[in-house]
Amino acid sequence: MTTITINEKQHSFNGIDPTMPLLWALRDHAGIQGVKYGCGVGQCGACTVWLDGFAVRSCQLPVGTLDGRSITTVEGLAGNALHPVQQAWIDHDVAQCGYCQAGQIMSAAALLERNPSPSDDEIDAAMAGNLCRCGTYVRIKSAIKAASGAMTASALFYNAMEAEEVSA
């Protein structure tokens, strides 16, 4: 049995092939379908999830190796409100077909968690593993910049609030 924390809930996989990629374990056995099958060989990024906070290709991770690890999918990205990246994707009307976008969002959000103000080149480098045949790269880039602005502004705001509390 393999027990994985998925979107902050424990999920046990019983009696399934331990070599099954996490992608298919999530889709067929955990009811998590935001994660998408595109290539199965780690080339397209449609299956991107977070493993302990890092963006990974779930089609390349045998589920049997993940006991005790923590997975976040696009379904678990929002807190009380949408994640700033999700909100930016809606505001910038990024999606065309939308099939690759859960993976794009997970890569973008992982980038901004570590680098809240990425340069164009840093965005390119972080997003190079996610394919989109509809060609939404132009809008993905603007949405990431908007989300970066929102996250930076919000961080500044909360830092300022905390500073005020401390000084009070």
């Binding site: 379908q33 595109g38 060989v41 065309q96 077909c97 099939y99 690759c100 790269y137 880039k141």
Partner: protein, 736 residues
């Protein structure tokens, strides 16, 4: 295999539009509108519009959504005429039913074929709400106005929300069409605005809305293994070994149906023979394929070799081998004899795959006589009639659900995977989710056909393009007619514009199935034509833009009122707008070049300019400007998205995408051997949506064809090397 008898291929696009429109108008006039006459009060005003108790308005989008935005734009047209408050509109996919007419997504036709119908649907519903209010308040109908889902009577100050009027309105008879007034464009409040995709939040939060996400109770999973060489037949397989593998429920040979396995999307339910593996989850069936051994009978299989096809085509062009004449005007011989300058160049293109991100997949329940299908097909309208033939059932027992498609581009026009799943489901007696692997999707595609052109041009002593010859070498299964997408369409330019024109054709044998790939024929022909125009301009010592404008001329509409026809004023406006925006003629940095192209396809007049720089064989595409006239803008955000996407997709396909065939089998298998453009390679894209006010036409396809010639013309201007074959990787170029 690929036979000529293809109802859609053999139907001119305009006829297809007329047929489609006929059906659509028929449905709005006689079926969906009739459902208005209701015996009981309800929130439903017609087959497309329901007004809910909470004040929200449900509008059904009839056509499949595959990323072209129609499940937002079609409801927008209804909402505009209905004066529904957009924030309260819920866009839903319509069920697949006869009353919704031609439920398909292809040919960039959804908007033009639904434009009148959607407007009338909204305006008729609004008229009924107004009549209900007029009766309730005892005031004349003509004193009422509407806005934001409200009927207003300014003289008395009375106002009512649609939700409070719909019950009474639903009991009224349908107003005469003559009593229903449509808005004038200057009255539009919603059309032309930037509206986010109706499913934007569902997509961003991972809601299970795609074809691949369908699930039903008791469902089993299936994989289907066909012969790599198209048309090969499964004789035997190690089925007992497969059945003993963990997670496997059953394995069997499916005989398939007799071919041809051609792109006949209306009539054909043909499926190839293969081995079905049924399991308790997707992975078990995929893994079992590694153990599967099949003995294939190759006697009926394709023996195509793409290198041989290319060699034969180029030899035919070099020899001037003409088998049929497609088009002739004026005296071509005289134009070339009296020319001040002539040019002669050969262009070639390869097979390409669709490679949409969602591989084919479907859920079909055919275990009982009640058949149910959950699919992201682009042609759900054709599923029922073919299942009737395949399964020998009655149409009334078949229900088709349309789900969002993870990219279409023509790939989902063919439904053979649905028919495979139906046979597997019937055999195992349970609902089946059939999932094609990416490798299946690439191997069994209906590819963009390779096409080859020998172009010759004559420029007169006064610098005018007066003569044009085009010998087209087309892939053909029977040696007499072009396979789907491999032919030539008699375009208004140059055929109806240049005075002396000869378009001729030669055939090269090919059994590989081809089909509709975003902007069929235009997607390869535009590359040849618009590159060659630039070659002629250069050889004649003229500015490319001036030469192109002069060649297009000023005849106005070539066929007045036919939206698919060339309008030289619309063409000129896009070329002038795009060159102005790009700064045509400005001094460029060292190693940079600007390239221009114009093309009309799918009724869209589109001009594009690319700015590139070239270092050795490494091309950087810095910026692309697109000027598009697709008539009245419906959803500006959706239009801009399609234009940006077409540029990226065009660059993706021209860069390094090529399908090679050896012994009838596809060599490439996945994105590692068949690359899509990645973000670091993609340019800035600047969009100019020219709202010309003509009837709106589709935007999914027409912006792709001009991209490759614009980039190749820019490369020539940057480094002096003329690229005459796609993908450009064949000449050693890469996009960085």
């Amino acid at each position: 295999m690929n036979q000529p008898s293809n109802p859609i291929a053999n139907t001119d696009r305009r006829d297809f539009l007329k047929i489609s429109l006929g059906l659509a108008l028929c449905s709005s006039g006689s079926i969906s509108m009739m459902s208005l006459a209701s015996a009981e009060a309800s929130g439903t005003l017609n087959a497309y519009v329901s007004i809910n108790a909470d004040g929200s308005v449900t509008i059904y989008g009839p056509n499949p959504e595959v990323g072209q935005g129609v499940n937002t734009s079609l409801p927008m047209i209804v909402a505009e005429e209905l004066d529904a408050k957009w924030d309260d509109v819920r866009c839903e996919a319509a069920p697949v039913q006869q009353q919704y007419g031609m439920q398909f997504a292809g040919g960039s036709l959804s908007i033009p074929m639904r434009w009148d119908e959607m407007r009338k649907v909204g305006a008729t519903a609004k008229e009924m709400l107004c009549r209900a209010a007029a009766t309730q308040w005892g005031v004349p109908r003509k004193e009422l106005t509407t806005a934001d889902s409200m009927v207003l009577h300014s003289r008395s100050g009375k106002a009512a929300h649609y939700k409070d009027l719909v019950a009474a309105a639903s009991l009224l008879s349908v107003p005469d069409e003559a009593d229903v007034r449509l808005k004038a464009p200057e009255q539009y409040r919603l059309l032309g605005q930037r509206i986010s995709n109706a499913s934007a939040e569902g997509i961003a939060t991972g809601e299970p809305i795609f074809g691949i996400d369908a699930q039903v109770d008791g469902m089993v999973y299936a994989s289907f293994v066909k012969c790599p060489s198209i048309g090969g037949v499964a004789k035997s397989a190690n089925l007992e070994v497969i059945k003993a593998l963990p997670g496997i429920i059953d394995a069997f040979i499916l005989d398939g149906t007799p071919g041809p396995y051609n792109f006949n999307i209306r009539e054909s339910y043909a499926i190839q023979s293969g081995v079905a593996i049924v399991g308790k989850d997707t992975w078990s069936t995929f893994k079992a394929r590694e153990t599967l051994k099949v003995d294939w009978d190759l006697s009926t299989a394709s023996r195509d070799d793409s290198d041989a096809i290319e060699a034969e085509a180029l030899a035919a062009l070099a020899a001037g081998k003409v088998e049929t004449e497609i088009e002739r005007a004026g005296d071509v011989g005289a134009a070339f004899a009296s020319a001040a300058m002539t040019a002669d160049a050969t262009y070639s293109t390869d097979f390409v795959s669709h490679a949409q991100l969602e591989p084919q997949g479907v859920v079909v329940s055919a275990a009982t006589s009640a058949i149910e299908v959950w699919t992201s097909s682009q042609t759900p309208v054709f599923v029922t009639s073919n299942l009737v033939k395949l399964l020998d059932v009655t149409p009334g027992n078949i229900t088709v659900h349309q789900l969002r498609g993870g990219g279409g581009f023509g790939r989902r026009l063919s439904n053979e995977y649905i028919y495979e799943a139906a046979l597997i489901s019937r055999r195992v007696g349970a609902p089946v989710k059939l999932q094609w692997k990416r490798e299946d999707d690439m191997a069994f595609d209906y590819f963009r056909a390779p096409t080859y052109y020998r172009l010759q041009g004559a420029v007169s002593t006064d610098g005018q393009l007066t003569g044009w010859k085009n010998l087209v070498a087309s892939a053909s299964a029977d040696g007499k007619t072009a396979n789907y997408g491999a032919g030539y369409r008699p375009y208004d330019f140059p055929g109806k514009v240049i005075p002396n024109v000869a378009i001729e054709q030669s055939f090269v044998k090919s059994q590989t199935p081809t089909g509709a790939w975003r902007a069929p024929i235009s997607n390869v022909y535009a590359f040849a034509e618009q590159s060659f125009i630039a070659e002629l301009a250069h050889t004649a010592g003229q500015d490319h833009r001036d030469f192109l404008l002069s060649a297009i001329g000023d005849k106005g509409w070539i066929k007045e009122g036919d939206m698919a026809s060339l309008n030289t004023a619309r063409a000129r406006a896009t070329i002038e707008a795009v060159t102005k925006a790009a700064g045509w003629g400005r001094t460029l940095p060292e190693g940079h070049g600007l390239g221009l192209a114009f093309f009309l396809s799918h009724s869209g007049h589109i001009a594009e300019v690319a700015e590139v720089s070239v270092e050795g064989k490494r091309i950087t595409v810095h910026d692309v400007w697109v000027a598009a006239d697709v008539g009245q803008v419906v959803n500006l955000s959706g239009l801009e998205n399609q234009l940006q996407g077409s540029v990226i997709d065009g660059l993706s396909s021209m860069a390094a995408q090529s399908i090679s065939i050896k012994k009838g089998a596809v060599v490439q298998s996945n994105y590692d051997s068949y690359p899509l453009l990645r973000m670091p390679q993609s340019p800035r894209v600047h969009v100019l949506a020219l709202n010309s006010g003509y009837r709106p036409t589709g935007a999914g396809e027409p912006a792709l064809p001009p991209l490759a010639p614009a980039v190749c013309n820019a490369v020539f201007n940057a480094c002096g090397e003329r690229i005459r074959a796609l993908p450009i990787s064949k000449a050693g170029f890469t996009i960085v």
